[in-house]
């Protein structure tokens, strides 16, 4: 029972990590990270129950709160980052904020100050 529980939690964490690595948008990556935080909380709680030792249980409460704060901060970041309209030059939903995008840097070099 113990082994099955932890194997199931590890599989869930691996799937959330797959979504985090492969997610096409930033929101999908935030969703995957939130899921991994939940899996970590569940693993700590299950481990505390199986060992009958509650020394890590304040960590469960703290990780829950920190996970919520991180998700809220990520949501604010997603919303705030789109205020500059030229962050996504090619319009594929992925912002080219780092300047290495396909159409963003070339367009700015060809037409300096063209799209304002």
């Amino acid at each position: 029972m113990k082994t099955i529980t932890f194997v199931v939690l590890a599989a869930a964490g691996a799937l959330f990590m797959l979504r985090t690595v492969r997610g096409p948008s930033l929101s999908a990556r935030v969703i995957g990270m939130d899921g991994m935080i939940v899996v970590g909380v569940g693993a700590i709680a299950a481990d505390a129950m199986y060992r009958a030792d509650g020394i890590y249980l304040p960590t469960v409460v703290v990780i829950t709160l920190v996970g919520f704060v991180s998700t809220a901060a990520s949501a604010r970041f997603i919303e705030r980052r789109e205020l500059d309209a030229d962050a996504d030059a090619d319009g594929d939903g992925v912002a080219d904020a780092d300047g290495v995008g396909s159409a963003g840097s070339a367009g700015r070099e060809d037409h300096p100050g063209g799209r304002s």
Partner: protein, 112 residues
């Protein structure tokens, strides 16, 4: 009894992870993350609280379950709202940006 609850919560979290991995829409993923994961972690934490003897331990686990139930809809709403606003803004920028590019190019050429 407690181990059955913990295993059921872990299986619910695994189903949520399967849904998050299979669906490619952010709103569908948020649907799984906000409902199945919340139910799974609450069942898991309540099951772990049933297996604890000390009052300090199971009150911590029930506090964590309560906080998870309070904060999970709020975070799901924040992520969904920011995703919706970003997609709408990207859509408008792609439409008006293309029109502006073509129109300003033509007016500049015809004016000069």
């Amino acid at each position: 009894m407690a181990q059955v609850f913990v295993l059921a919560g872990a299986v619910l979290i695994l189903f949520s992870a399967l849904g998050v991995t299979r669906f490619n829409d952010v709103m569908a993923q948020m649907h799984f993350l906000s409902k199945a994961t919340t139910l799974g972690i609450v069942v898991l934490l309540v099951g772990a609280a049933l297996g604890m003897d000390s009052a300090n331990d199971w009150t911590s686990l029930l506090l964590a379950a309560f906080l998870q139930m309070m904060t999970s809809p709020v975070s799901a709403n924040l992520i969904s709202r920011s995703t919706y606003l970003r997609e709408r803004r990207v859509h408008e920028a792609s439409e008006t940006g293309a029109v502006d590019d073509v129109s300003t190019g033509r007016t500049e050429i015809s004016g000069s």
